[in-house]
């Protein structure tokens, strides 16, 4: 049975350049990209937490690393990744519960996810850059 399902030819349309995603699809792929980015960055983020708690000296070293403009840029990007993943994830929990699945509300909540995550990123970004 599994063999049959796996061997059966199914249509695949994955021309990345030509795909025109609807808004909820756009939110969905950003959910995946942000999740992947957070996974890839997990080592560095754990290192930052480790250093911040290890000792006074390492805490200062961690702050010096995090104060680099490039590190601030990456941290701001990861903050957006986390916040987008967070907001989109909450939207999916509602969709799983069959709430807001009609087209109009699914579009509205997609805009809300994009807007709220960017607004929160601006907040966190302001803290990262001008603290």
């Amino acid at each position: 049975m599994a063999e049959f399902a796996a061997k059966r030819k199914r249509p695949v349309y994955l021309d990345v350049v030509r795909i025109r995603l609807p808004l909820p699809g756009f939110v969905s792929i950003l959910h995946r990209i942000s999740g992947a980015a957070l996974f890839v960055s997990a080592f560095w983020l754990l290192w930052l937490l480790d250093a911040s708690l290890a000792s006074e000296g390492k805490f200062d070293a961690m702050r010096a690393v995090a104060a680099q403009p490039f590190a601030k840029l990456v941290l701001t990007g990861l903050a957006w990744g986390f916040l987008h993943h967070f907001c989109a994830g909450i939207r999916y929990l509602f969709l799983d519960a069959d709430l807001g699945v009609d087209l109009a509300r699914a579009r509205a909540s997609s805009w809300a996810v994009l807007a709220v995550s960017i607004a929160l990123t601006a907040l966190v970004g302001g803290w990262i850059w001008w603290r």
Binding site: A2, E3, A5, A6, K7, R32, G35, A36, L38, F39, A42, F43, L46, L49, D50, S52, L53, A54, S55, E56, F59, D60, F86, G89, I90, L93, D96
Partner: protein, 115 residues
Amino acid sequence: MVKRIVVGAHYGFRDWLAQRITAAVMAAYTVVFVIAFAAAAPAGHAAWKAFFAQGWMRVASLLFFASLFYHAWIGVRDILMDYVKPVWLRLSLEVLAILALVGYAGWAVQILWRN
């Protein structure tokens, strides 16, 4: 020789559910963390360390990290299943992801309890 096809069988619903439960745990932790951080406003290394050394904070953070790494595993596996078609490469990357995440879990425990 038995021809076997590597497919994702038997764990679909369980992992779907686990992904949502771990997400809820992490979302709750995030909210609690932000509130506790705002309330304590730890400034400097000593206060930051004391903030994480609280008993409930250690346990809550452990639950967060356990949820995070399980959640990440399901997500990474989904991504690999979608984009990496050669079985040997997909399985290799999956093993690397598992090793990394289990290693991170040990590291996280060390970070939380070493201080």
